[in-house]
């Protein structure tokens, strides 16, 4: 009997999903400890978080609405990493998409809805995609890690849009923002006064599309080959010049969509820092999702709930919403380091020859 149980645990330890879930709870545990150490009551924090995210029609709608751009951000990360590039530039690509959609959305007010909305999306995807492809291009030209490049580009896009907004596109008056988008460029709100808009349907469709693209198409096959083993991919005739560019374009385009939806579905205009942090949350979502489209969707919903609930939590417990970043960090580390979870679970089982032994000195 004991042997059976040990074998079961042994098998589970190797299951990616199980490990990811354990990692998630481990992160929660560590967060709880940190909250206690700083002097907040975890119970109060979590209960207000939960209420803010799930209790009441308005809150639930907000949770879904908050999750919507995160789904895109997570998919963006996932597409890039499946093809072997670590896209930490999602933050900048989202800003690019948001800004572009706002500019287009306020420039052609006469167009009918059926053309205007897709147009705004297309421009957002184009701009986001180009900004993403730029990361891949610079990586090849400069022969430097894409992370350094992408972070630089994030700052550049942030300041660039702030400059353009402040000096060329802002409305008169105290507030620095673009004009309101006309009705014909807005996504319907599914629940009035909430963040939930029809973008969520688009998000789910995109999840399905990305799943299909990566797993069923020949192009997706090439992407995965490149991600797993670029040398073998090169020998198989997959172009190491164009594949990273194409993959990052797609990744950036999806990120651009995230920005567009925030503008067209939630705020109805563009203002500085409106999407701050979405990109990095997208990175965490992509990692927690483990490279699967469905996993990414679920992770996005989880983080969306956290984010939505944190506003309530801030009101009740007066802890800044940025504490989510702590949780994001813990999730990233624990999910991507199965060694930690494994060592905790199997401490009694294996002599863990992979870890440092005290006897070896």
């Amino acid at each position: 009997m004991v042997k059976n149980r040990k074998n079961k645990i042994g098998k589970l330890i190797d299951d990616k999903v199980f490990l990811a879930v354990c990692a998630f709870f481990l992160a929660l545990l560590v967060l709880t400890v940190i909250l206690l150490l700083i002097g907040y009551s975890p119970i109060e924090c979590y209960s207000s978080l939960f209420r803010g995210a799930f209790v009441g029609k308005g809150n639930l709608a907000n949770t879904l609405g908050t999750s919507t751009p995160l789904i895109f951000a997570g998919l963006s990360m996932m597409v890039a990493s499946r093809s072997g590039t670590f896209n930490i530039g999602i933050e900048g690509q989202i800003i690019a998409g948001a800004f572009a959609s706002a500019i287009v959305g306020t420039s052609f007010a006469g167009l009918p809805r059926i053309i205007y909305i897709p147009l705004c999306f297309l421009v957002a995807m184009l701009v986001g995609g180009l900004w993403g492809a730029l990361v891949a291009l610079l990586k090849r030209v400069l022969q430097v890690s894409e992370i350094i490049i992408a972070i630089m580009l994030n700052y550049i896009m942030d300041y660039l849009t702030k400059y353009l907004l402040t000096y060329h596109f802002t409305v008169d008056g105290m507030v620095i923002r673009t004009e309101y988008l006309p009705e014909s460029a807005l996504l319907h709100k599914m629940l009035p006064l909430s963040r939930l808009n029809t973008g969520i349907i688009l998000a789910v469709i995109t999840v399905a599309f990305v799943w299909w693209l990566i797993n069923k198409t020949t192009f997706g096959y090439e992407m995965r080959a490149t991600g797993y083993n670029p040398f073998a991919a090169e020998s198989a005739g997959i172009s190491m010049r164009y594949m990273p560019l194409a993959a990052m374009f797609i990744s950036g385009a999806i990120a651009g969509m995230a920005g567009a939806i925030e503008v067209m579905g939630v705020h109805e205009y563009f203002v500085a820092d409106m999407t701050a942090g979405y990109g990095f949350t997208g990175v965490a979502i992509g990692i927690m999702g483990g490279g699967s489209a469905v996993g990414t969707l679920i992770s996005a919903l989880v983080f969306g709930s956290l984010r939505a609930g944190s506003a309530t939590m801030n009101r009740m417990v007066s802890i800044p919403g940025e504490f989510i970043q702590i949780f994001q960090a813990l999730v990233i580390v624990f999910v991507s380091t199965p060694g930690i979870v494994r060592s905790i679970l199997s401490r009694k089982k294996q002599p863990s020859w992979k870890l440092r032994r005290k006897t070896d000195e």
């Binding site: 002097g39 930490i88 700052y155 504490f323 580390v333 991507s336 930690i340």
Partner: protein
Amino acid sequence: MNNMIAFLVSLLSGSIRMCIPIAFAALGGTLCERSGIVNMGLEGMMLMGAFSAVCGSYLSGSAYVGLLAAVVCGCMMGLILSGLTIRYKCEHVLAGLGINMFAGGFTIVMLQTVWGSRGKSTVVAGLTAWPLPVLNRIPIIKNIIGSVSPFLVLLFVCMLLVQFVLYHTVFGLRARIIGENPYVAGSAGIDVYRTQLICVLCGSVLASIGGAYLSIGDVNLFFKDMVAGRGFIALAIVILGGWKPRGVVLGALVFGAAQSLQIRLQAAEIPPQLVQMLPYVITILALFLVKNQGKAPAAEGTHYYRDGA
């Protein structure tokens, strides 16, 4: 003539001011990478260093206690990074990014806890410049180098120290070999984990001190997001400096001078956002213009398994 001197003085002091934090972080990054550990968490370590320095100074009233706090904080960050990458075989990049994110969230939460503010702390005691004995009496010269920031002195000392240790001691030889191929070192009986741990700890402390300069060495307070990507610029400087201590500090100085020069040459009519964009553009340009500064340590980013590959 006076204008010229004033301009040069301001340029020099501006260059140094921008160089110091990046130089410390780059020095720390070099040390880590030389032993095989890529430290993507320089940004977060600088942030935590800046914050702990302000905390230390705030709670004790002395900036030197703040500096000490930054050192201790650096040690802790180093323990976390080494624990994750060396012991648990985390991808170096992800461990570093995790540290960055953690630091970002943690410092803002603590800002709220300690000062009740979400933006910035109160002004605290900062590290005042040390007057230089003879030089600070001479009329014109005393404005240029009459006093020197203790951080600058510390930077110089650290650079020489790292240079000496890496290239002239047994420890440094072993660390460099581990960075090229840890299995060679392991097969010669060297404790790879311990050497890497020491390098990461020291490197993290250096990064933390760099952050401390930003707060108690410069503006004497902490505000949200004050590192603003310098940790990543430092990583680029590590590459540009060829993973050599002197090269890296020189690179940071050149970067500081470039940025300082740009800001001063352009009239005040340039929109602030574009000026703020400069350091990041300069970094990319520098990576473009300067190629082949030397090769990265061959085994950096990899994991060493003591019980066999």
